[in-house]
């Protein structure tokens, strides 16, 4: 929602978010270094810092990964999602500091350049104790670098949100590589079962939350007609009109809370059916910003408000209110016998369609 790009679109919420983030990271680093210095006073400062940065990045990566499913399971987590990109960039910076120290400590003063040294170190892939875990970390670092470098809205617009999202899904590959990097590297040098347990618990938590959130959302992705829902021909439509004129009944209008949406699957994607002020309208569920789930948002001041970063759309037209220019596809809606009926053909983004009036329609249908 902008007329031109800026480095960062600061607002009060973002500043509070970032301040909390920086304080949290500094506190973590201080605690980690303090605890390590107490329990292992012989460790050199570089190695202690290298581990502190690496562990901090790994912990932040877990936070980044669990925010998505947590928000889908419970809306109270949504404030954490608001500025997740800054969380990701902070995680990358910690990873970068870890990588720089690792290069300085282990690869800067050999016979070959640092990159060649990392790639050719520990060539024993048949041995757990000498597995080349550093190239795994390097590969994960490359992915996180690509993600941090493309985190600006310019890249969202120029790659388009679906491509940008697909690119940023590589974070799961990076996570897998980092779990192996940690398991095969740092944990080999540690005798403590606590670190191994924490790494395993982190992996379990990330996996479980994703599975639970996916199971919870699965019903919304069942295509409606295929699920055997009621399909009706609207009043006034000649009996010999084509099947294109069918309307799909998606839910009882009373099941949609005021100012909220029912999410359904039509024409191959999710559709958000909003009810507000006695009216019903439907738009494609994917926000034009980062494809956030509009149907999980609310109608605020007459506008559908995306739960992720607050982009707004007028329910009847799917357009952002002036002066903004975001647009999402819309769907024709009717209310009949207390049921919401939708024409499953999406209209071009920003097409104004008359919302269904609940009172009139229920009266007419009953």
């Amino acid at each position: 929602m902008a007329h031109s790009y800026r480095a960062v679109g600061w607002n009060r919420t973002k500043k509070v978010y970032d301040r909390t983030l920086v304080l949290g990271v500094l506190l973590f680093l201080a605690l980690f270094v303090g605890a390590t210095a107490t329990t292992n006073p012989d460790m050199s400062a570089e190695i202690m810092l290298m581990r502190a940065f690496g562990t901090g990045a790994f912990v932040l990566l877990h936070v980044v990964l669990v925010i998505g499913p947590l928000c889908r399971l419970d809306r109270r987590w949504l404030p954490l999602l608001y500025n997740r990109r800054h969380l990701g960039v902070a995680m990358f910076v910690l990873g970068l500091l870890h990588a720089v120290l690792a290069v300085v400590v282990y690869h800067a003063f050999g016979d070959v350049d640092p990159l060649t040294s990392i790639l050719s170190a520990n060539a024993r892939i048949d041995s757990l104790s000498q597995f080349p875990f550093q190239p795994l970390g390097l590969a994960a670092f490359g992915i996180l670098l690509l993600m941090a470098a493309t985190s600006h809205d310019f890249w969202l617009a120029n790659l388009t949100p679906p491509v940008w999202k697909a690119l940023h899904m590589l974070v799961y590959v990076a996570y897998g590589l980092l779990v192996m990097h940690v398991a095969l590297g740092a944990l080999q040098a540690e005798t403590s079962a606590v670190l191994a347990g924490l790494t395993g618990a982190g992996l379990l938590l990330v996996t479980l939350l994703h599975v639970i959130a996916a199971l919870r959302e699965a019903p919304a992705d069942v295509p409606h007609a295929a699920a055997g829902d009621r399909v009706s021909v609207p009043h006034g439509v000649a009996a010999d009109q084509s099947a294109d004129d069918c309307w799909v009944a998606v839910c009882p209008v009373d099941s949609i809370p005021e100012g909220r949406a029912h999410i359904t699957c039509l024409a191959g994607e999710r559709v958000a059916v909003f009810r507000w002020d006695g009216r019903v309208a439907a738009v494609s569920n994917a926000c034009q910003h980062q494809n956030g789930p509009l149907g999980e948002g609310r109608v605020i001041d007459g506008c559908i408000t995306c739960p992720w970063h607050g982009y707004q759309y007028l329910p009847a037209s799917g357009r952002s209110p002036p002066p903004f220019d975001e647009r999402v596809p819309t769907f024709a809606v009717r209310v009949e016998d207390g049921h919401v009926l939708i024409d499953p053909r999406p209209r071009p983004p920003g097409t104004e369609l008359e919302p269904a009036i609940i009172g009139d329609a229920v009266g007419a249908g009953s």
């Binding site: 902008a2 007329h3 031109s4 790009y5 800026r6 480095a7 960062v8 070959v112 350049d113 990159l115 060649t116 040294s117 790639l119 050719s120 060539a123 080349p132 190239p135 670098l145 690509l146 941090a148 470098a149 493309t150 600006h152 310019f154 890249w155 617009a157 120029n158 388009t160 949100p161 679906p162 024409a267 191959g268 994607e269 559709v271 494609s284 994917a286 034009q288 596809p329 053909r345 999406p346 209209r347 071009p348 983004p349 097409t351």
Partner: protein, 92 residues
């Protein structure tokens, strides 16, 4: 990976990065305003923020710059594609 192979791989990575960095400096100074009108008024901070991405994705941005495209591509999704197809049918 043997030291020889690792040496060649690291040279290739460095070459890609160096070309990318040179391209990125040129692109954020001159090219970006041609491919995205919203970037025309971009601040120095904005240009610096997108510079690493331009260095990494330079083949993509170079192709777009050379092709003379004036706007970012349109997002593709099932709904947008179906709506566009419908629109064409209606217009025909």
């Amino acid at each position: 990976m043997s030291v020889d192979v690792a040496w060649w791989v690291s040279r290739a990575v460095l070459a890609y990065g160096l070309v990318g960095l040179l391209f990125a400096v040129l692109f954020v100074s001159l090219g970006v305003r041609r491919v995205d009108p919203l970037a025309a008024e971009g601040t120095l901070g904005f240009r610096l923020a997108i510079l690493p991405g331009c260095a990494l994705l330079w083949p993509l941005m170079a192709r777009r710059w050379l092709s003379g495209q004036r706007h970012p591509p349109q997002e593709r999704s099932a709904h947008r594609a179906a709506a566009a197809a419908q629109h064409v049918d209606d217009g025909a």
